[in-house]
Symmetry: C2
Subunit: 164 residues, 2 copies
DNA sequence: ACTTGATATATAACTTGTTATGTAAATGCA
DNA sequence: TGCATTTACATAACAAGTTATATATCAAGT
């Protein structure tokens, strides 16, 4: 059976992007788990934002991440349960929260940069390297590339090259 | 606050694609509602697949759509509740279902093609027209384009041009 | 100071994606 | 024929996004 979503092209661009996104996220999460991280890929941007900017309010994170406020709140609840962040009250404006990485969170971020993020970025960059043409052409190439080798395997191979 | 997901580039490609996808889907659904359809954008591929190929099994749809089998099953339940499809048993192989558009479903698809899909395709094609460069460049341009004018407004304008 | 309105976050309900697993039917081999 | 395996779909539980709305605090005007 042919790939109808692909055939429909721009009409189903949303569905197409969504399925590629899910696949990337799942692969990245799997790679992370393989090297001992249990933070899902979707949480990386939160940690990275806090790493870059220090204390941020929920509203700041909404802007930094481009997702809805309840989405951010849920991510924060999850990360706080894992002990990676601390959520305090902003005493200047007590409606706001001040979210910061915990000391464990900072450790995790440092390890992630070294053991996960760097390899993921290399693998994704590799996957997308040399792509050109229309958006749909590039999406075709990405899906074909992932069919050939999943992102987690790509990240693993790069890592081995580098360590070996 | 800057857009951290954008800044992180390929590292967060999954998150980036996901948020663009959600935005496109929401806009398309809103446009559809505006012209009297209450089928969410994510269901269009299912309807289009059945329109193109006639009776399909669940497994066929899994391949055609590129989503998981339980995802397909849930979509079908929803579309059957709305009366747009009929799900029968395949008598040759009674493990399989044979999914077809109902007569109402066929009507809806014909109306959708005329009143929704055509305009959505035009609007998305317009949004992506003239894009070039790396994937990240193109994604930047798409998000900038959507900031300027949402996809549902784009579709509406095109439609007005055409009818006016 | 009080009241009114705006802003920041939380919560509830829903959607739609996933994985893991259960069940019924078909297939294949002894 | 009968049993084991495989296949097709259903179901349950979870994840992460959404909108709509509730609550708490701040800001402003009288």
């Amino acid at each position: 059976m042919e790939d109808v979503v692909r055939q429909l092209g721009y009409l189903c661009l949303g569905s197409r992007l969504k399925r590629i996104a899910e696949r990337l996220q799942a692969d990245v999460t799997r790679f992370g788990e393989g090297v001992g991280f249990d933070v899902p890929a979707g949480q990386y941007p939160v940690l990275a934002a806090l790493d870059r900017h220090g204390a941020l309010s929920v509203g700041d994170l909404v802007q930094a991440l481009g997702v809805s406020q309840p989405g951010v709140t849920r991510s924060l609840t999850l990360l706080a349960e894992k002990g990676l962040i601390e959520i305090e009250r902003n005493e200047r404006d007590r409606r706001q929260k001040a979210v910061v990485l915990s000391s464990e969170g900072r450790n995790i971020v440092e390890r992630s940069k070294r053991d996960v993020w760097r390899h993921v970025e290399t693998a994704v960059t590799g996957l997308c390297a040399g792509l050109s043409g229309s958006l749909l052409d590039q999406l075709d190439a990405i899906e074909a590339g992932l069919d050939e080798m999943s992102l987690d395997r790509r990240a693993l191979e790069k890592r081995e090259c580098q360590c070996g």
